[in-house]
């Protein structure tokens, strides 16, 4: 009886440790994977915005850039329902840049800095936009429970032309 009891206790401890370790490993994998996806997405977005020569259309969840090198409009759109950020160049099919995104927003600013700060004034129209600020937060669930988040993705990108 004592042996059975000890065996049961040992098995329970091992099972709990296995579950705990497995969950933590899954979180680690998720974090690395989401971090990688976030870095790739911010690199892609910053590269596109940096070489754009103007903002064509704007909303907090979507921006359309004018580009010289392709002569096509480039649109980034965040869908709250499907939790994805897509990139669409001209009439090409949209591609997913980032998924599992709980929230994302774009902000636009003009070229003129506010005195005594690192911020810029908000533009009246898209024609005055020179700086794009983008921020998002993503999460991934394990066993249906949100357990991994990536909140640190923000960027303020300056359009270089003009």
């Amino acid at each position: 009886m004592v042996g059975i009891g000890l065996s049961g206790l040992l098995t329970t401890v091992i099972a709990a440790m296995t579950l705990y370790s497995g969950t933590n490993f899954a979180r680690l994998v998720n974090y690395t994977d989401m971090d990688s996806a976030g870095v790739n997405a911010i690199d892609q977005i910053s590269r596109d915005i940096r070489q754009a020569n103007g903002l064509f259309a704007y909303s907090p969840s979507s921006i359309t850039l004018r580009t010289d090198n392709t002569n096509q409009n480039l649109t980034y759109t965040y869908s709250n329902g499907s939790r994805v950020l897509t990139r669409k160049l001209g009439t090409n099919a949209a591609t997913t840049v980032l998924s599992e995104c709980d929230g994302m927003s774009f902000s636009m600013y003009q070229r003129t800095p506010i005195h005594g700060s690192f911020n810029q004034y908000e533009p009246g129209t898209t024609n005055e936009a020179k700086v794009i600020f983008v921020t998002w937060n993503c999460s991934r669930a394990i066993h249906g429970k949100k357990s991994t988040t990536d909140n640190a993705s923000t960027a303020r990108i300056v359009m270089r032309v003009n």
């Binding site: 370790s21 490993f25 680690l28 994998v29 974090y31 690395t32 971090d35 990688s36 870095v39 690199d43 590269r47 940096r50 070489q51 020569n53 010289d68 090198n69 003009q110 070229r111 003129t112 800095p113 005195h115 004034y121 533009p123 009246g124 024609n127 005055e128 020179k130 270089r160 032309v161 003009n162």
Partner: protein
Amino acid sequence: MKPRINPLSEQGNILLVSLCTMMIIGIALLTYLTLAKNQNQLVMRSQTWNACLPMAEAGIDEALNHLVWNATNMTASGWTKSGTNSYYRTNALGDGYYAVTISTNLTPASIIATGYIPMPGSTTFVARKIKVEAAMIPPYSFAMRVKNSVSMNGNGCVIDSYDSSDPTKSTGGLYDAAKAGDEADVSCISQSGNVNLGNGNIWGHAFVAPGGKVTTGPNGAVGSKTWNQTKSGVQPGWSKSDANLSIPDAKVPFTGGVPPLPGLVGGVIYTAVLDGGIFQMATMTGKVIVTDDSLVYVTGSIDVTKFVIQTNATVRIYCGGPSADLGTQVNGPKLASACMFFGLPTCTSIDISSDWIGTVYAPSADFGAAGGADFYGSCTAKSLTLKGHSAYHFDAALKKPQTTDPGFVITSWIEL
């Protein structure tokens, strides 16, 4: 009692279980370390990749500086000819470096820069390459640039444009009201600065800083030629509130020039004859004539009654005194670029009371035209006031790039 001795098979089981346990722990540890390593590499790679961009842009910056300062001597300052179509330069900053080329054709200049940053703990370099096209810009791209305000008091005050180099936009190189254009862009860079037109007109764009305002009276207008001729108010799209310009002070050009001598030219006695060269004088008064290309530094004020520039002559005037009354002008070449006035920081007031062709760069001066005097050219000042029926005609020929003293603006930026 005999001690129990485990059979060999049980010993093997324990060994097997131990090995399996160790293997599981080992795999878990290996996986964890691999994940940590991947994460570390990802962060390092990302940081290195991002660091390449400012490195490459440092190369672009050096190339643009080289274009501005050495456009006529492109193999100066460590630049070498590379092949037949470009100039090359490399430079190190910290652990990284950049390599940059400039095309020999400068219309537009094509600059390609590659930034290199080493991966931490490695001799492998990560590289990013940028291609920039830069177009020449004129020294006078605006009709008027002011720090504080533009004020137009009186009916008939107008700011418009002509082009002394284009017979369809001028007559004999001079302003012709029938050919006036709408290229007279006005910029006011103070946040509290206003462009107050009253019932005056601006045939061009009005740019103000954030917080600045463009206000018009019932008959005032800002916009295109057609808009000004038919409507009032600000034409949509012809005013922006993101002006962000730098207007540095004019600097003392030299010290130690000789004073000009008085003389008789064409039967007229002049108090100063600028017959070519570099001059310096305490004050400039009376009648002055320029007979050859001259540069004059007036340490005090200017109050001339007549200022004559003979055909084929040009003059640059630097004024260090508090006021400059530019008097009646005869501009023989009929070009704004033939008469350039620079006001030093101590020059705080400039007035014209009769027609004047030239350029004015006086960031600390209040510039005023009154009594029906018309100004032809381009002006940079602290403020501008037009009174009575005075008018301001921007010579759009000044907007054309000058290869002898070029500026450059980026027109295309692409990462390759």
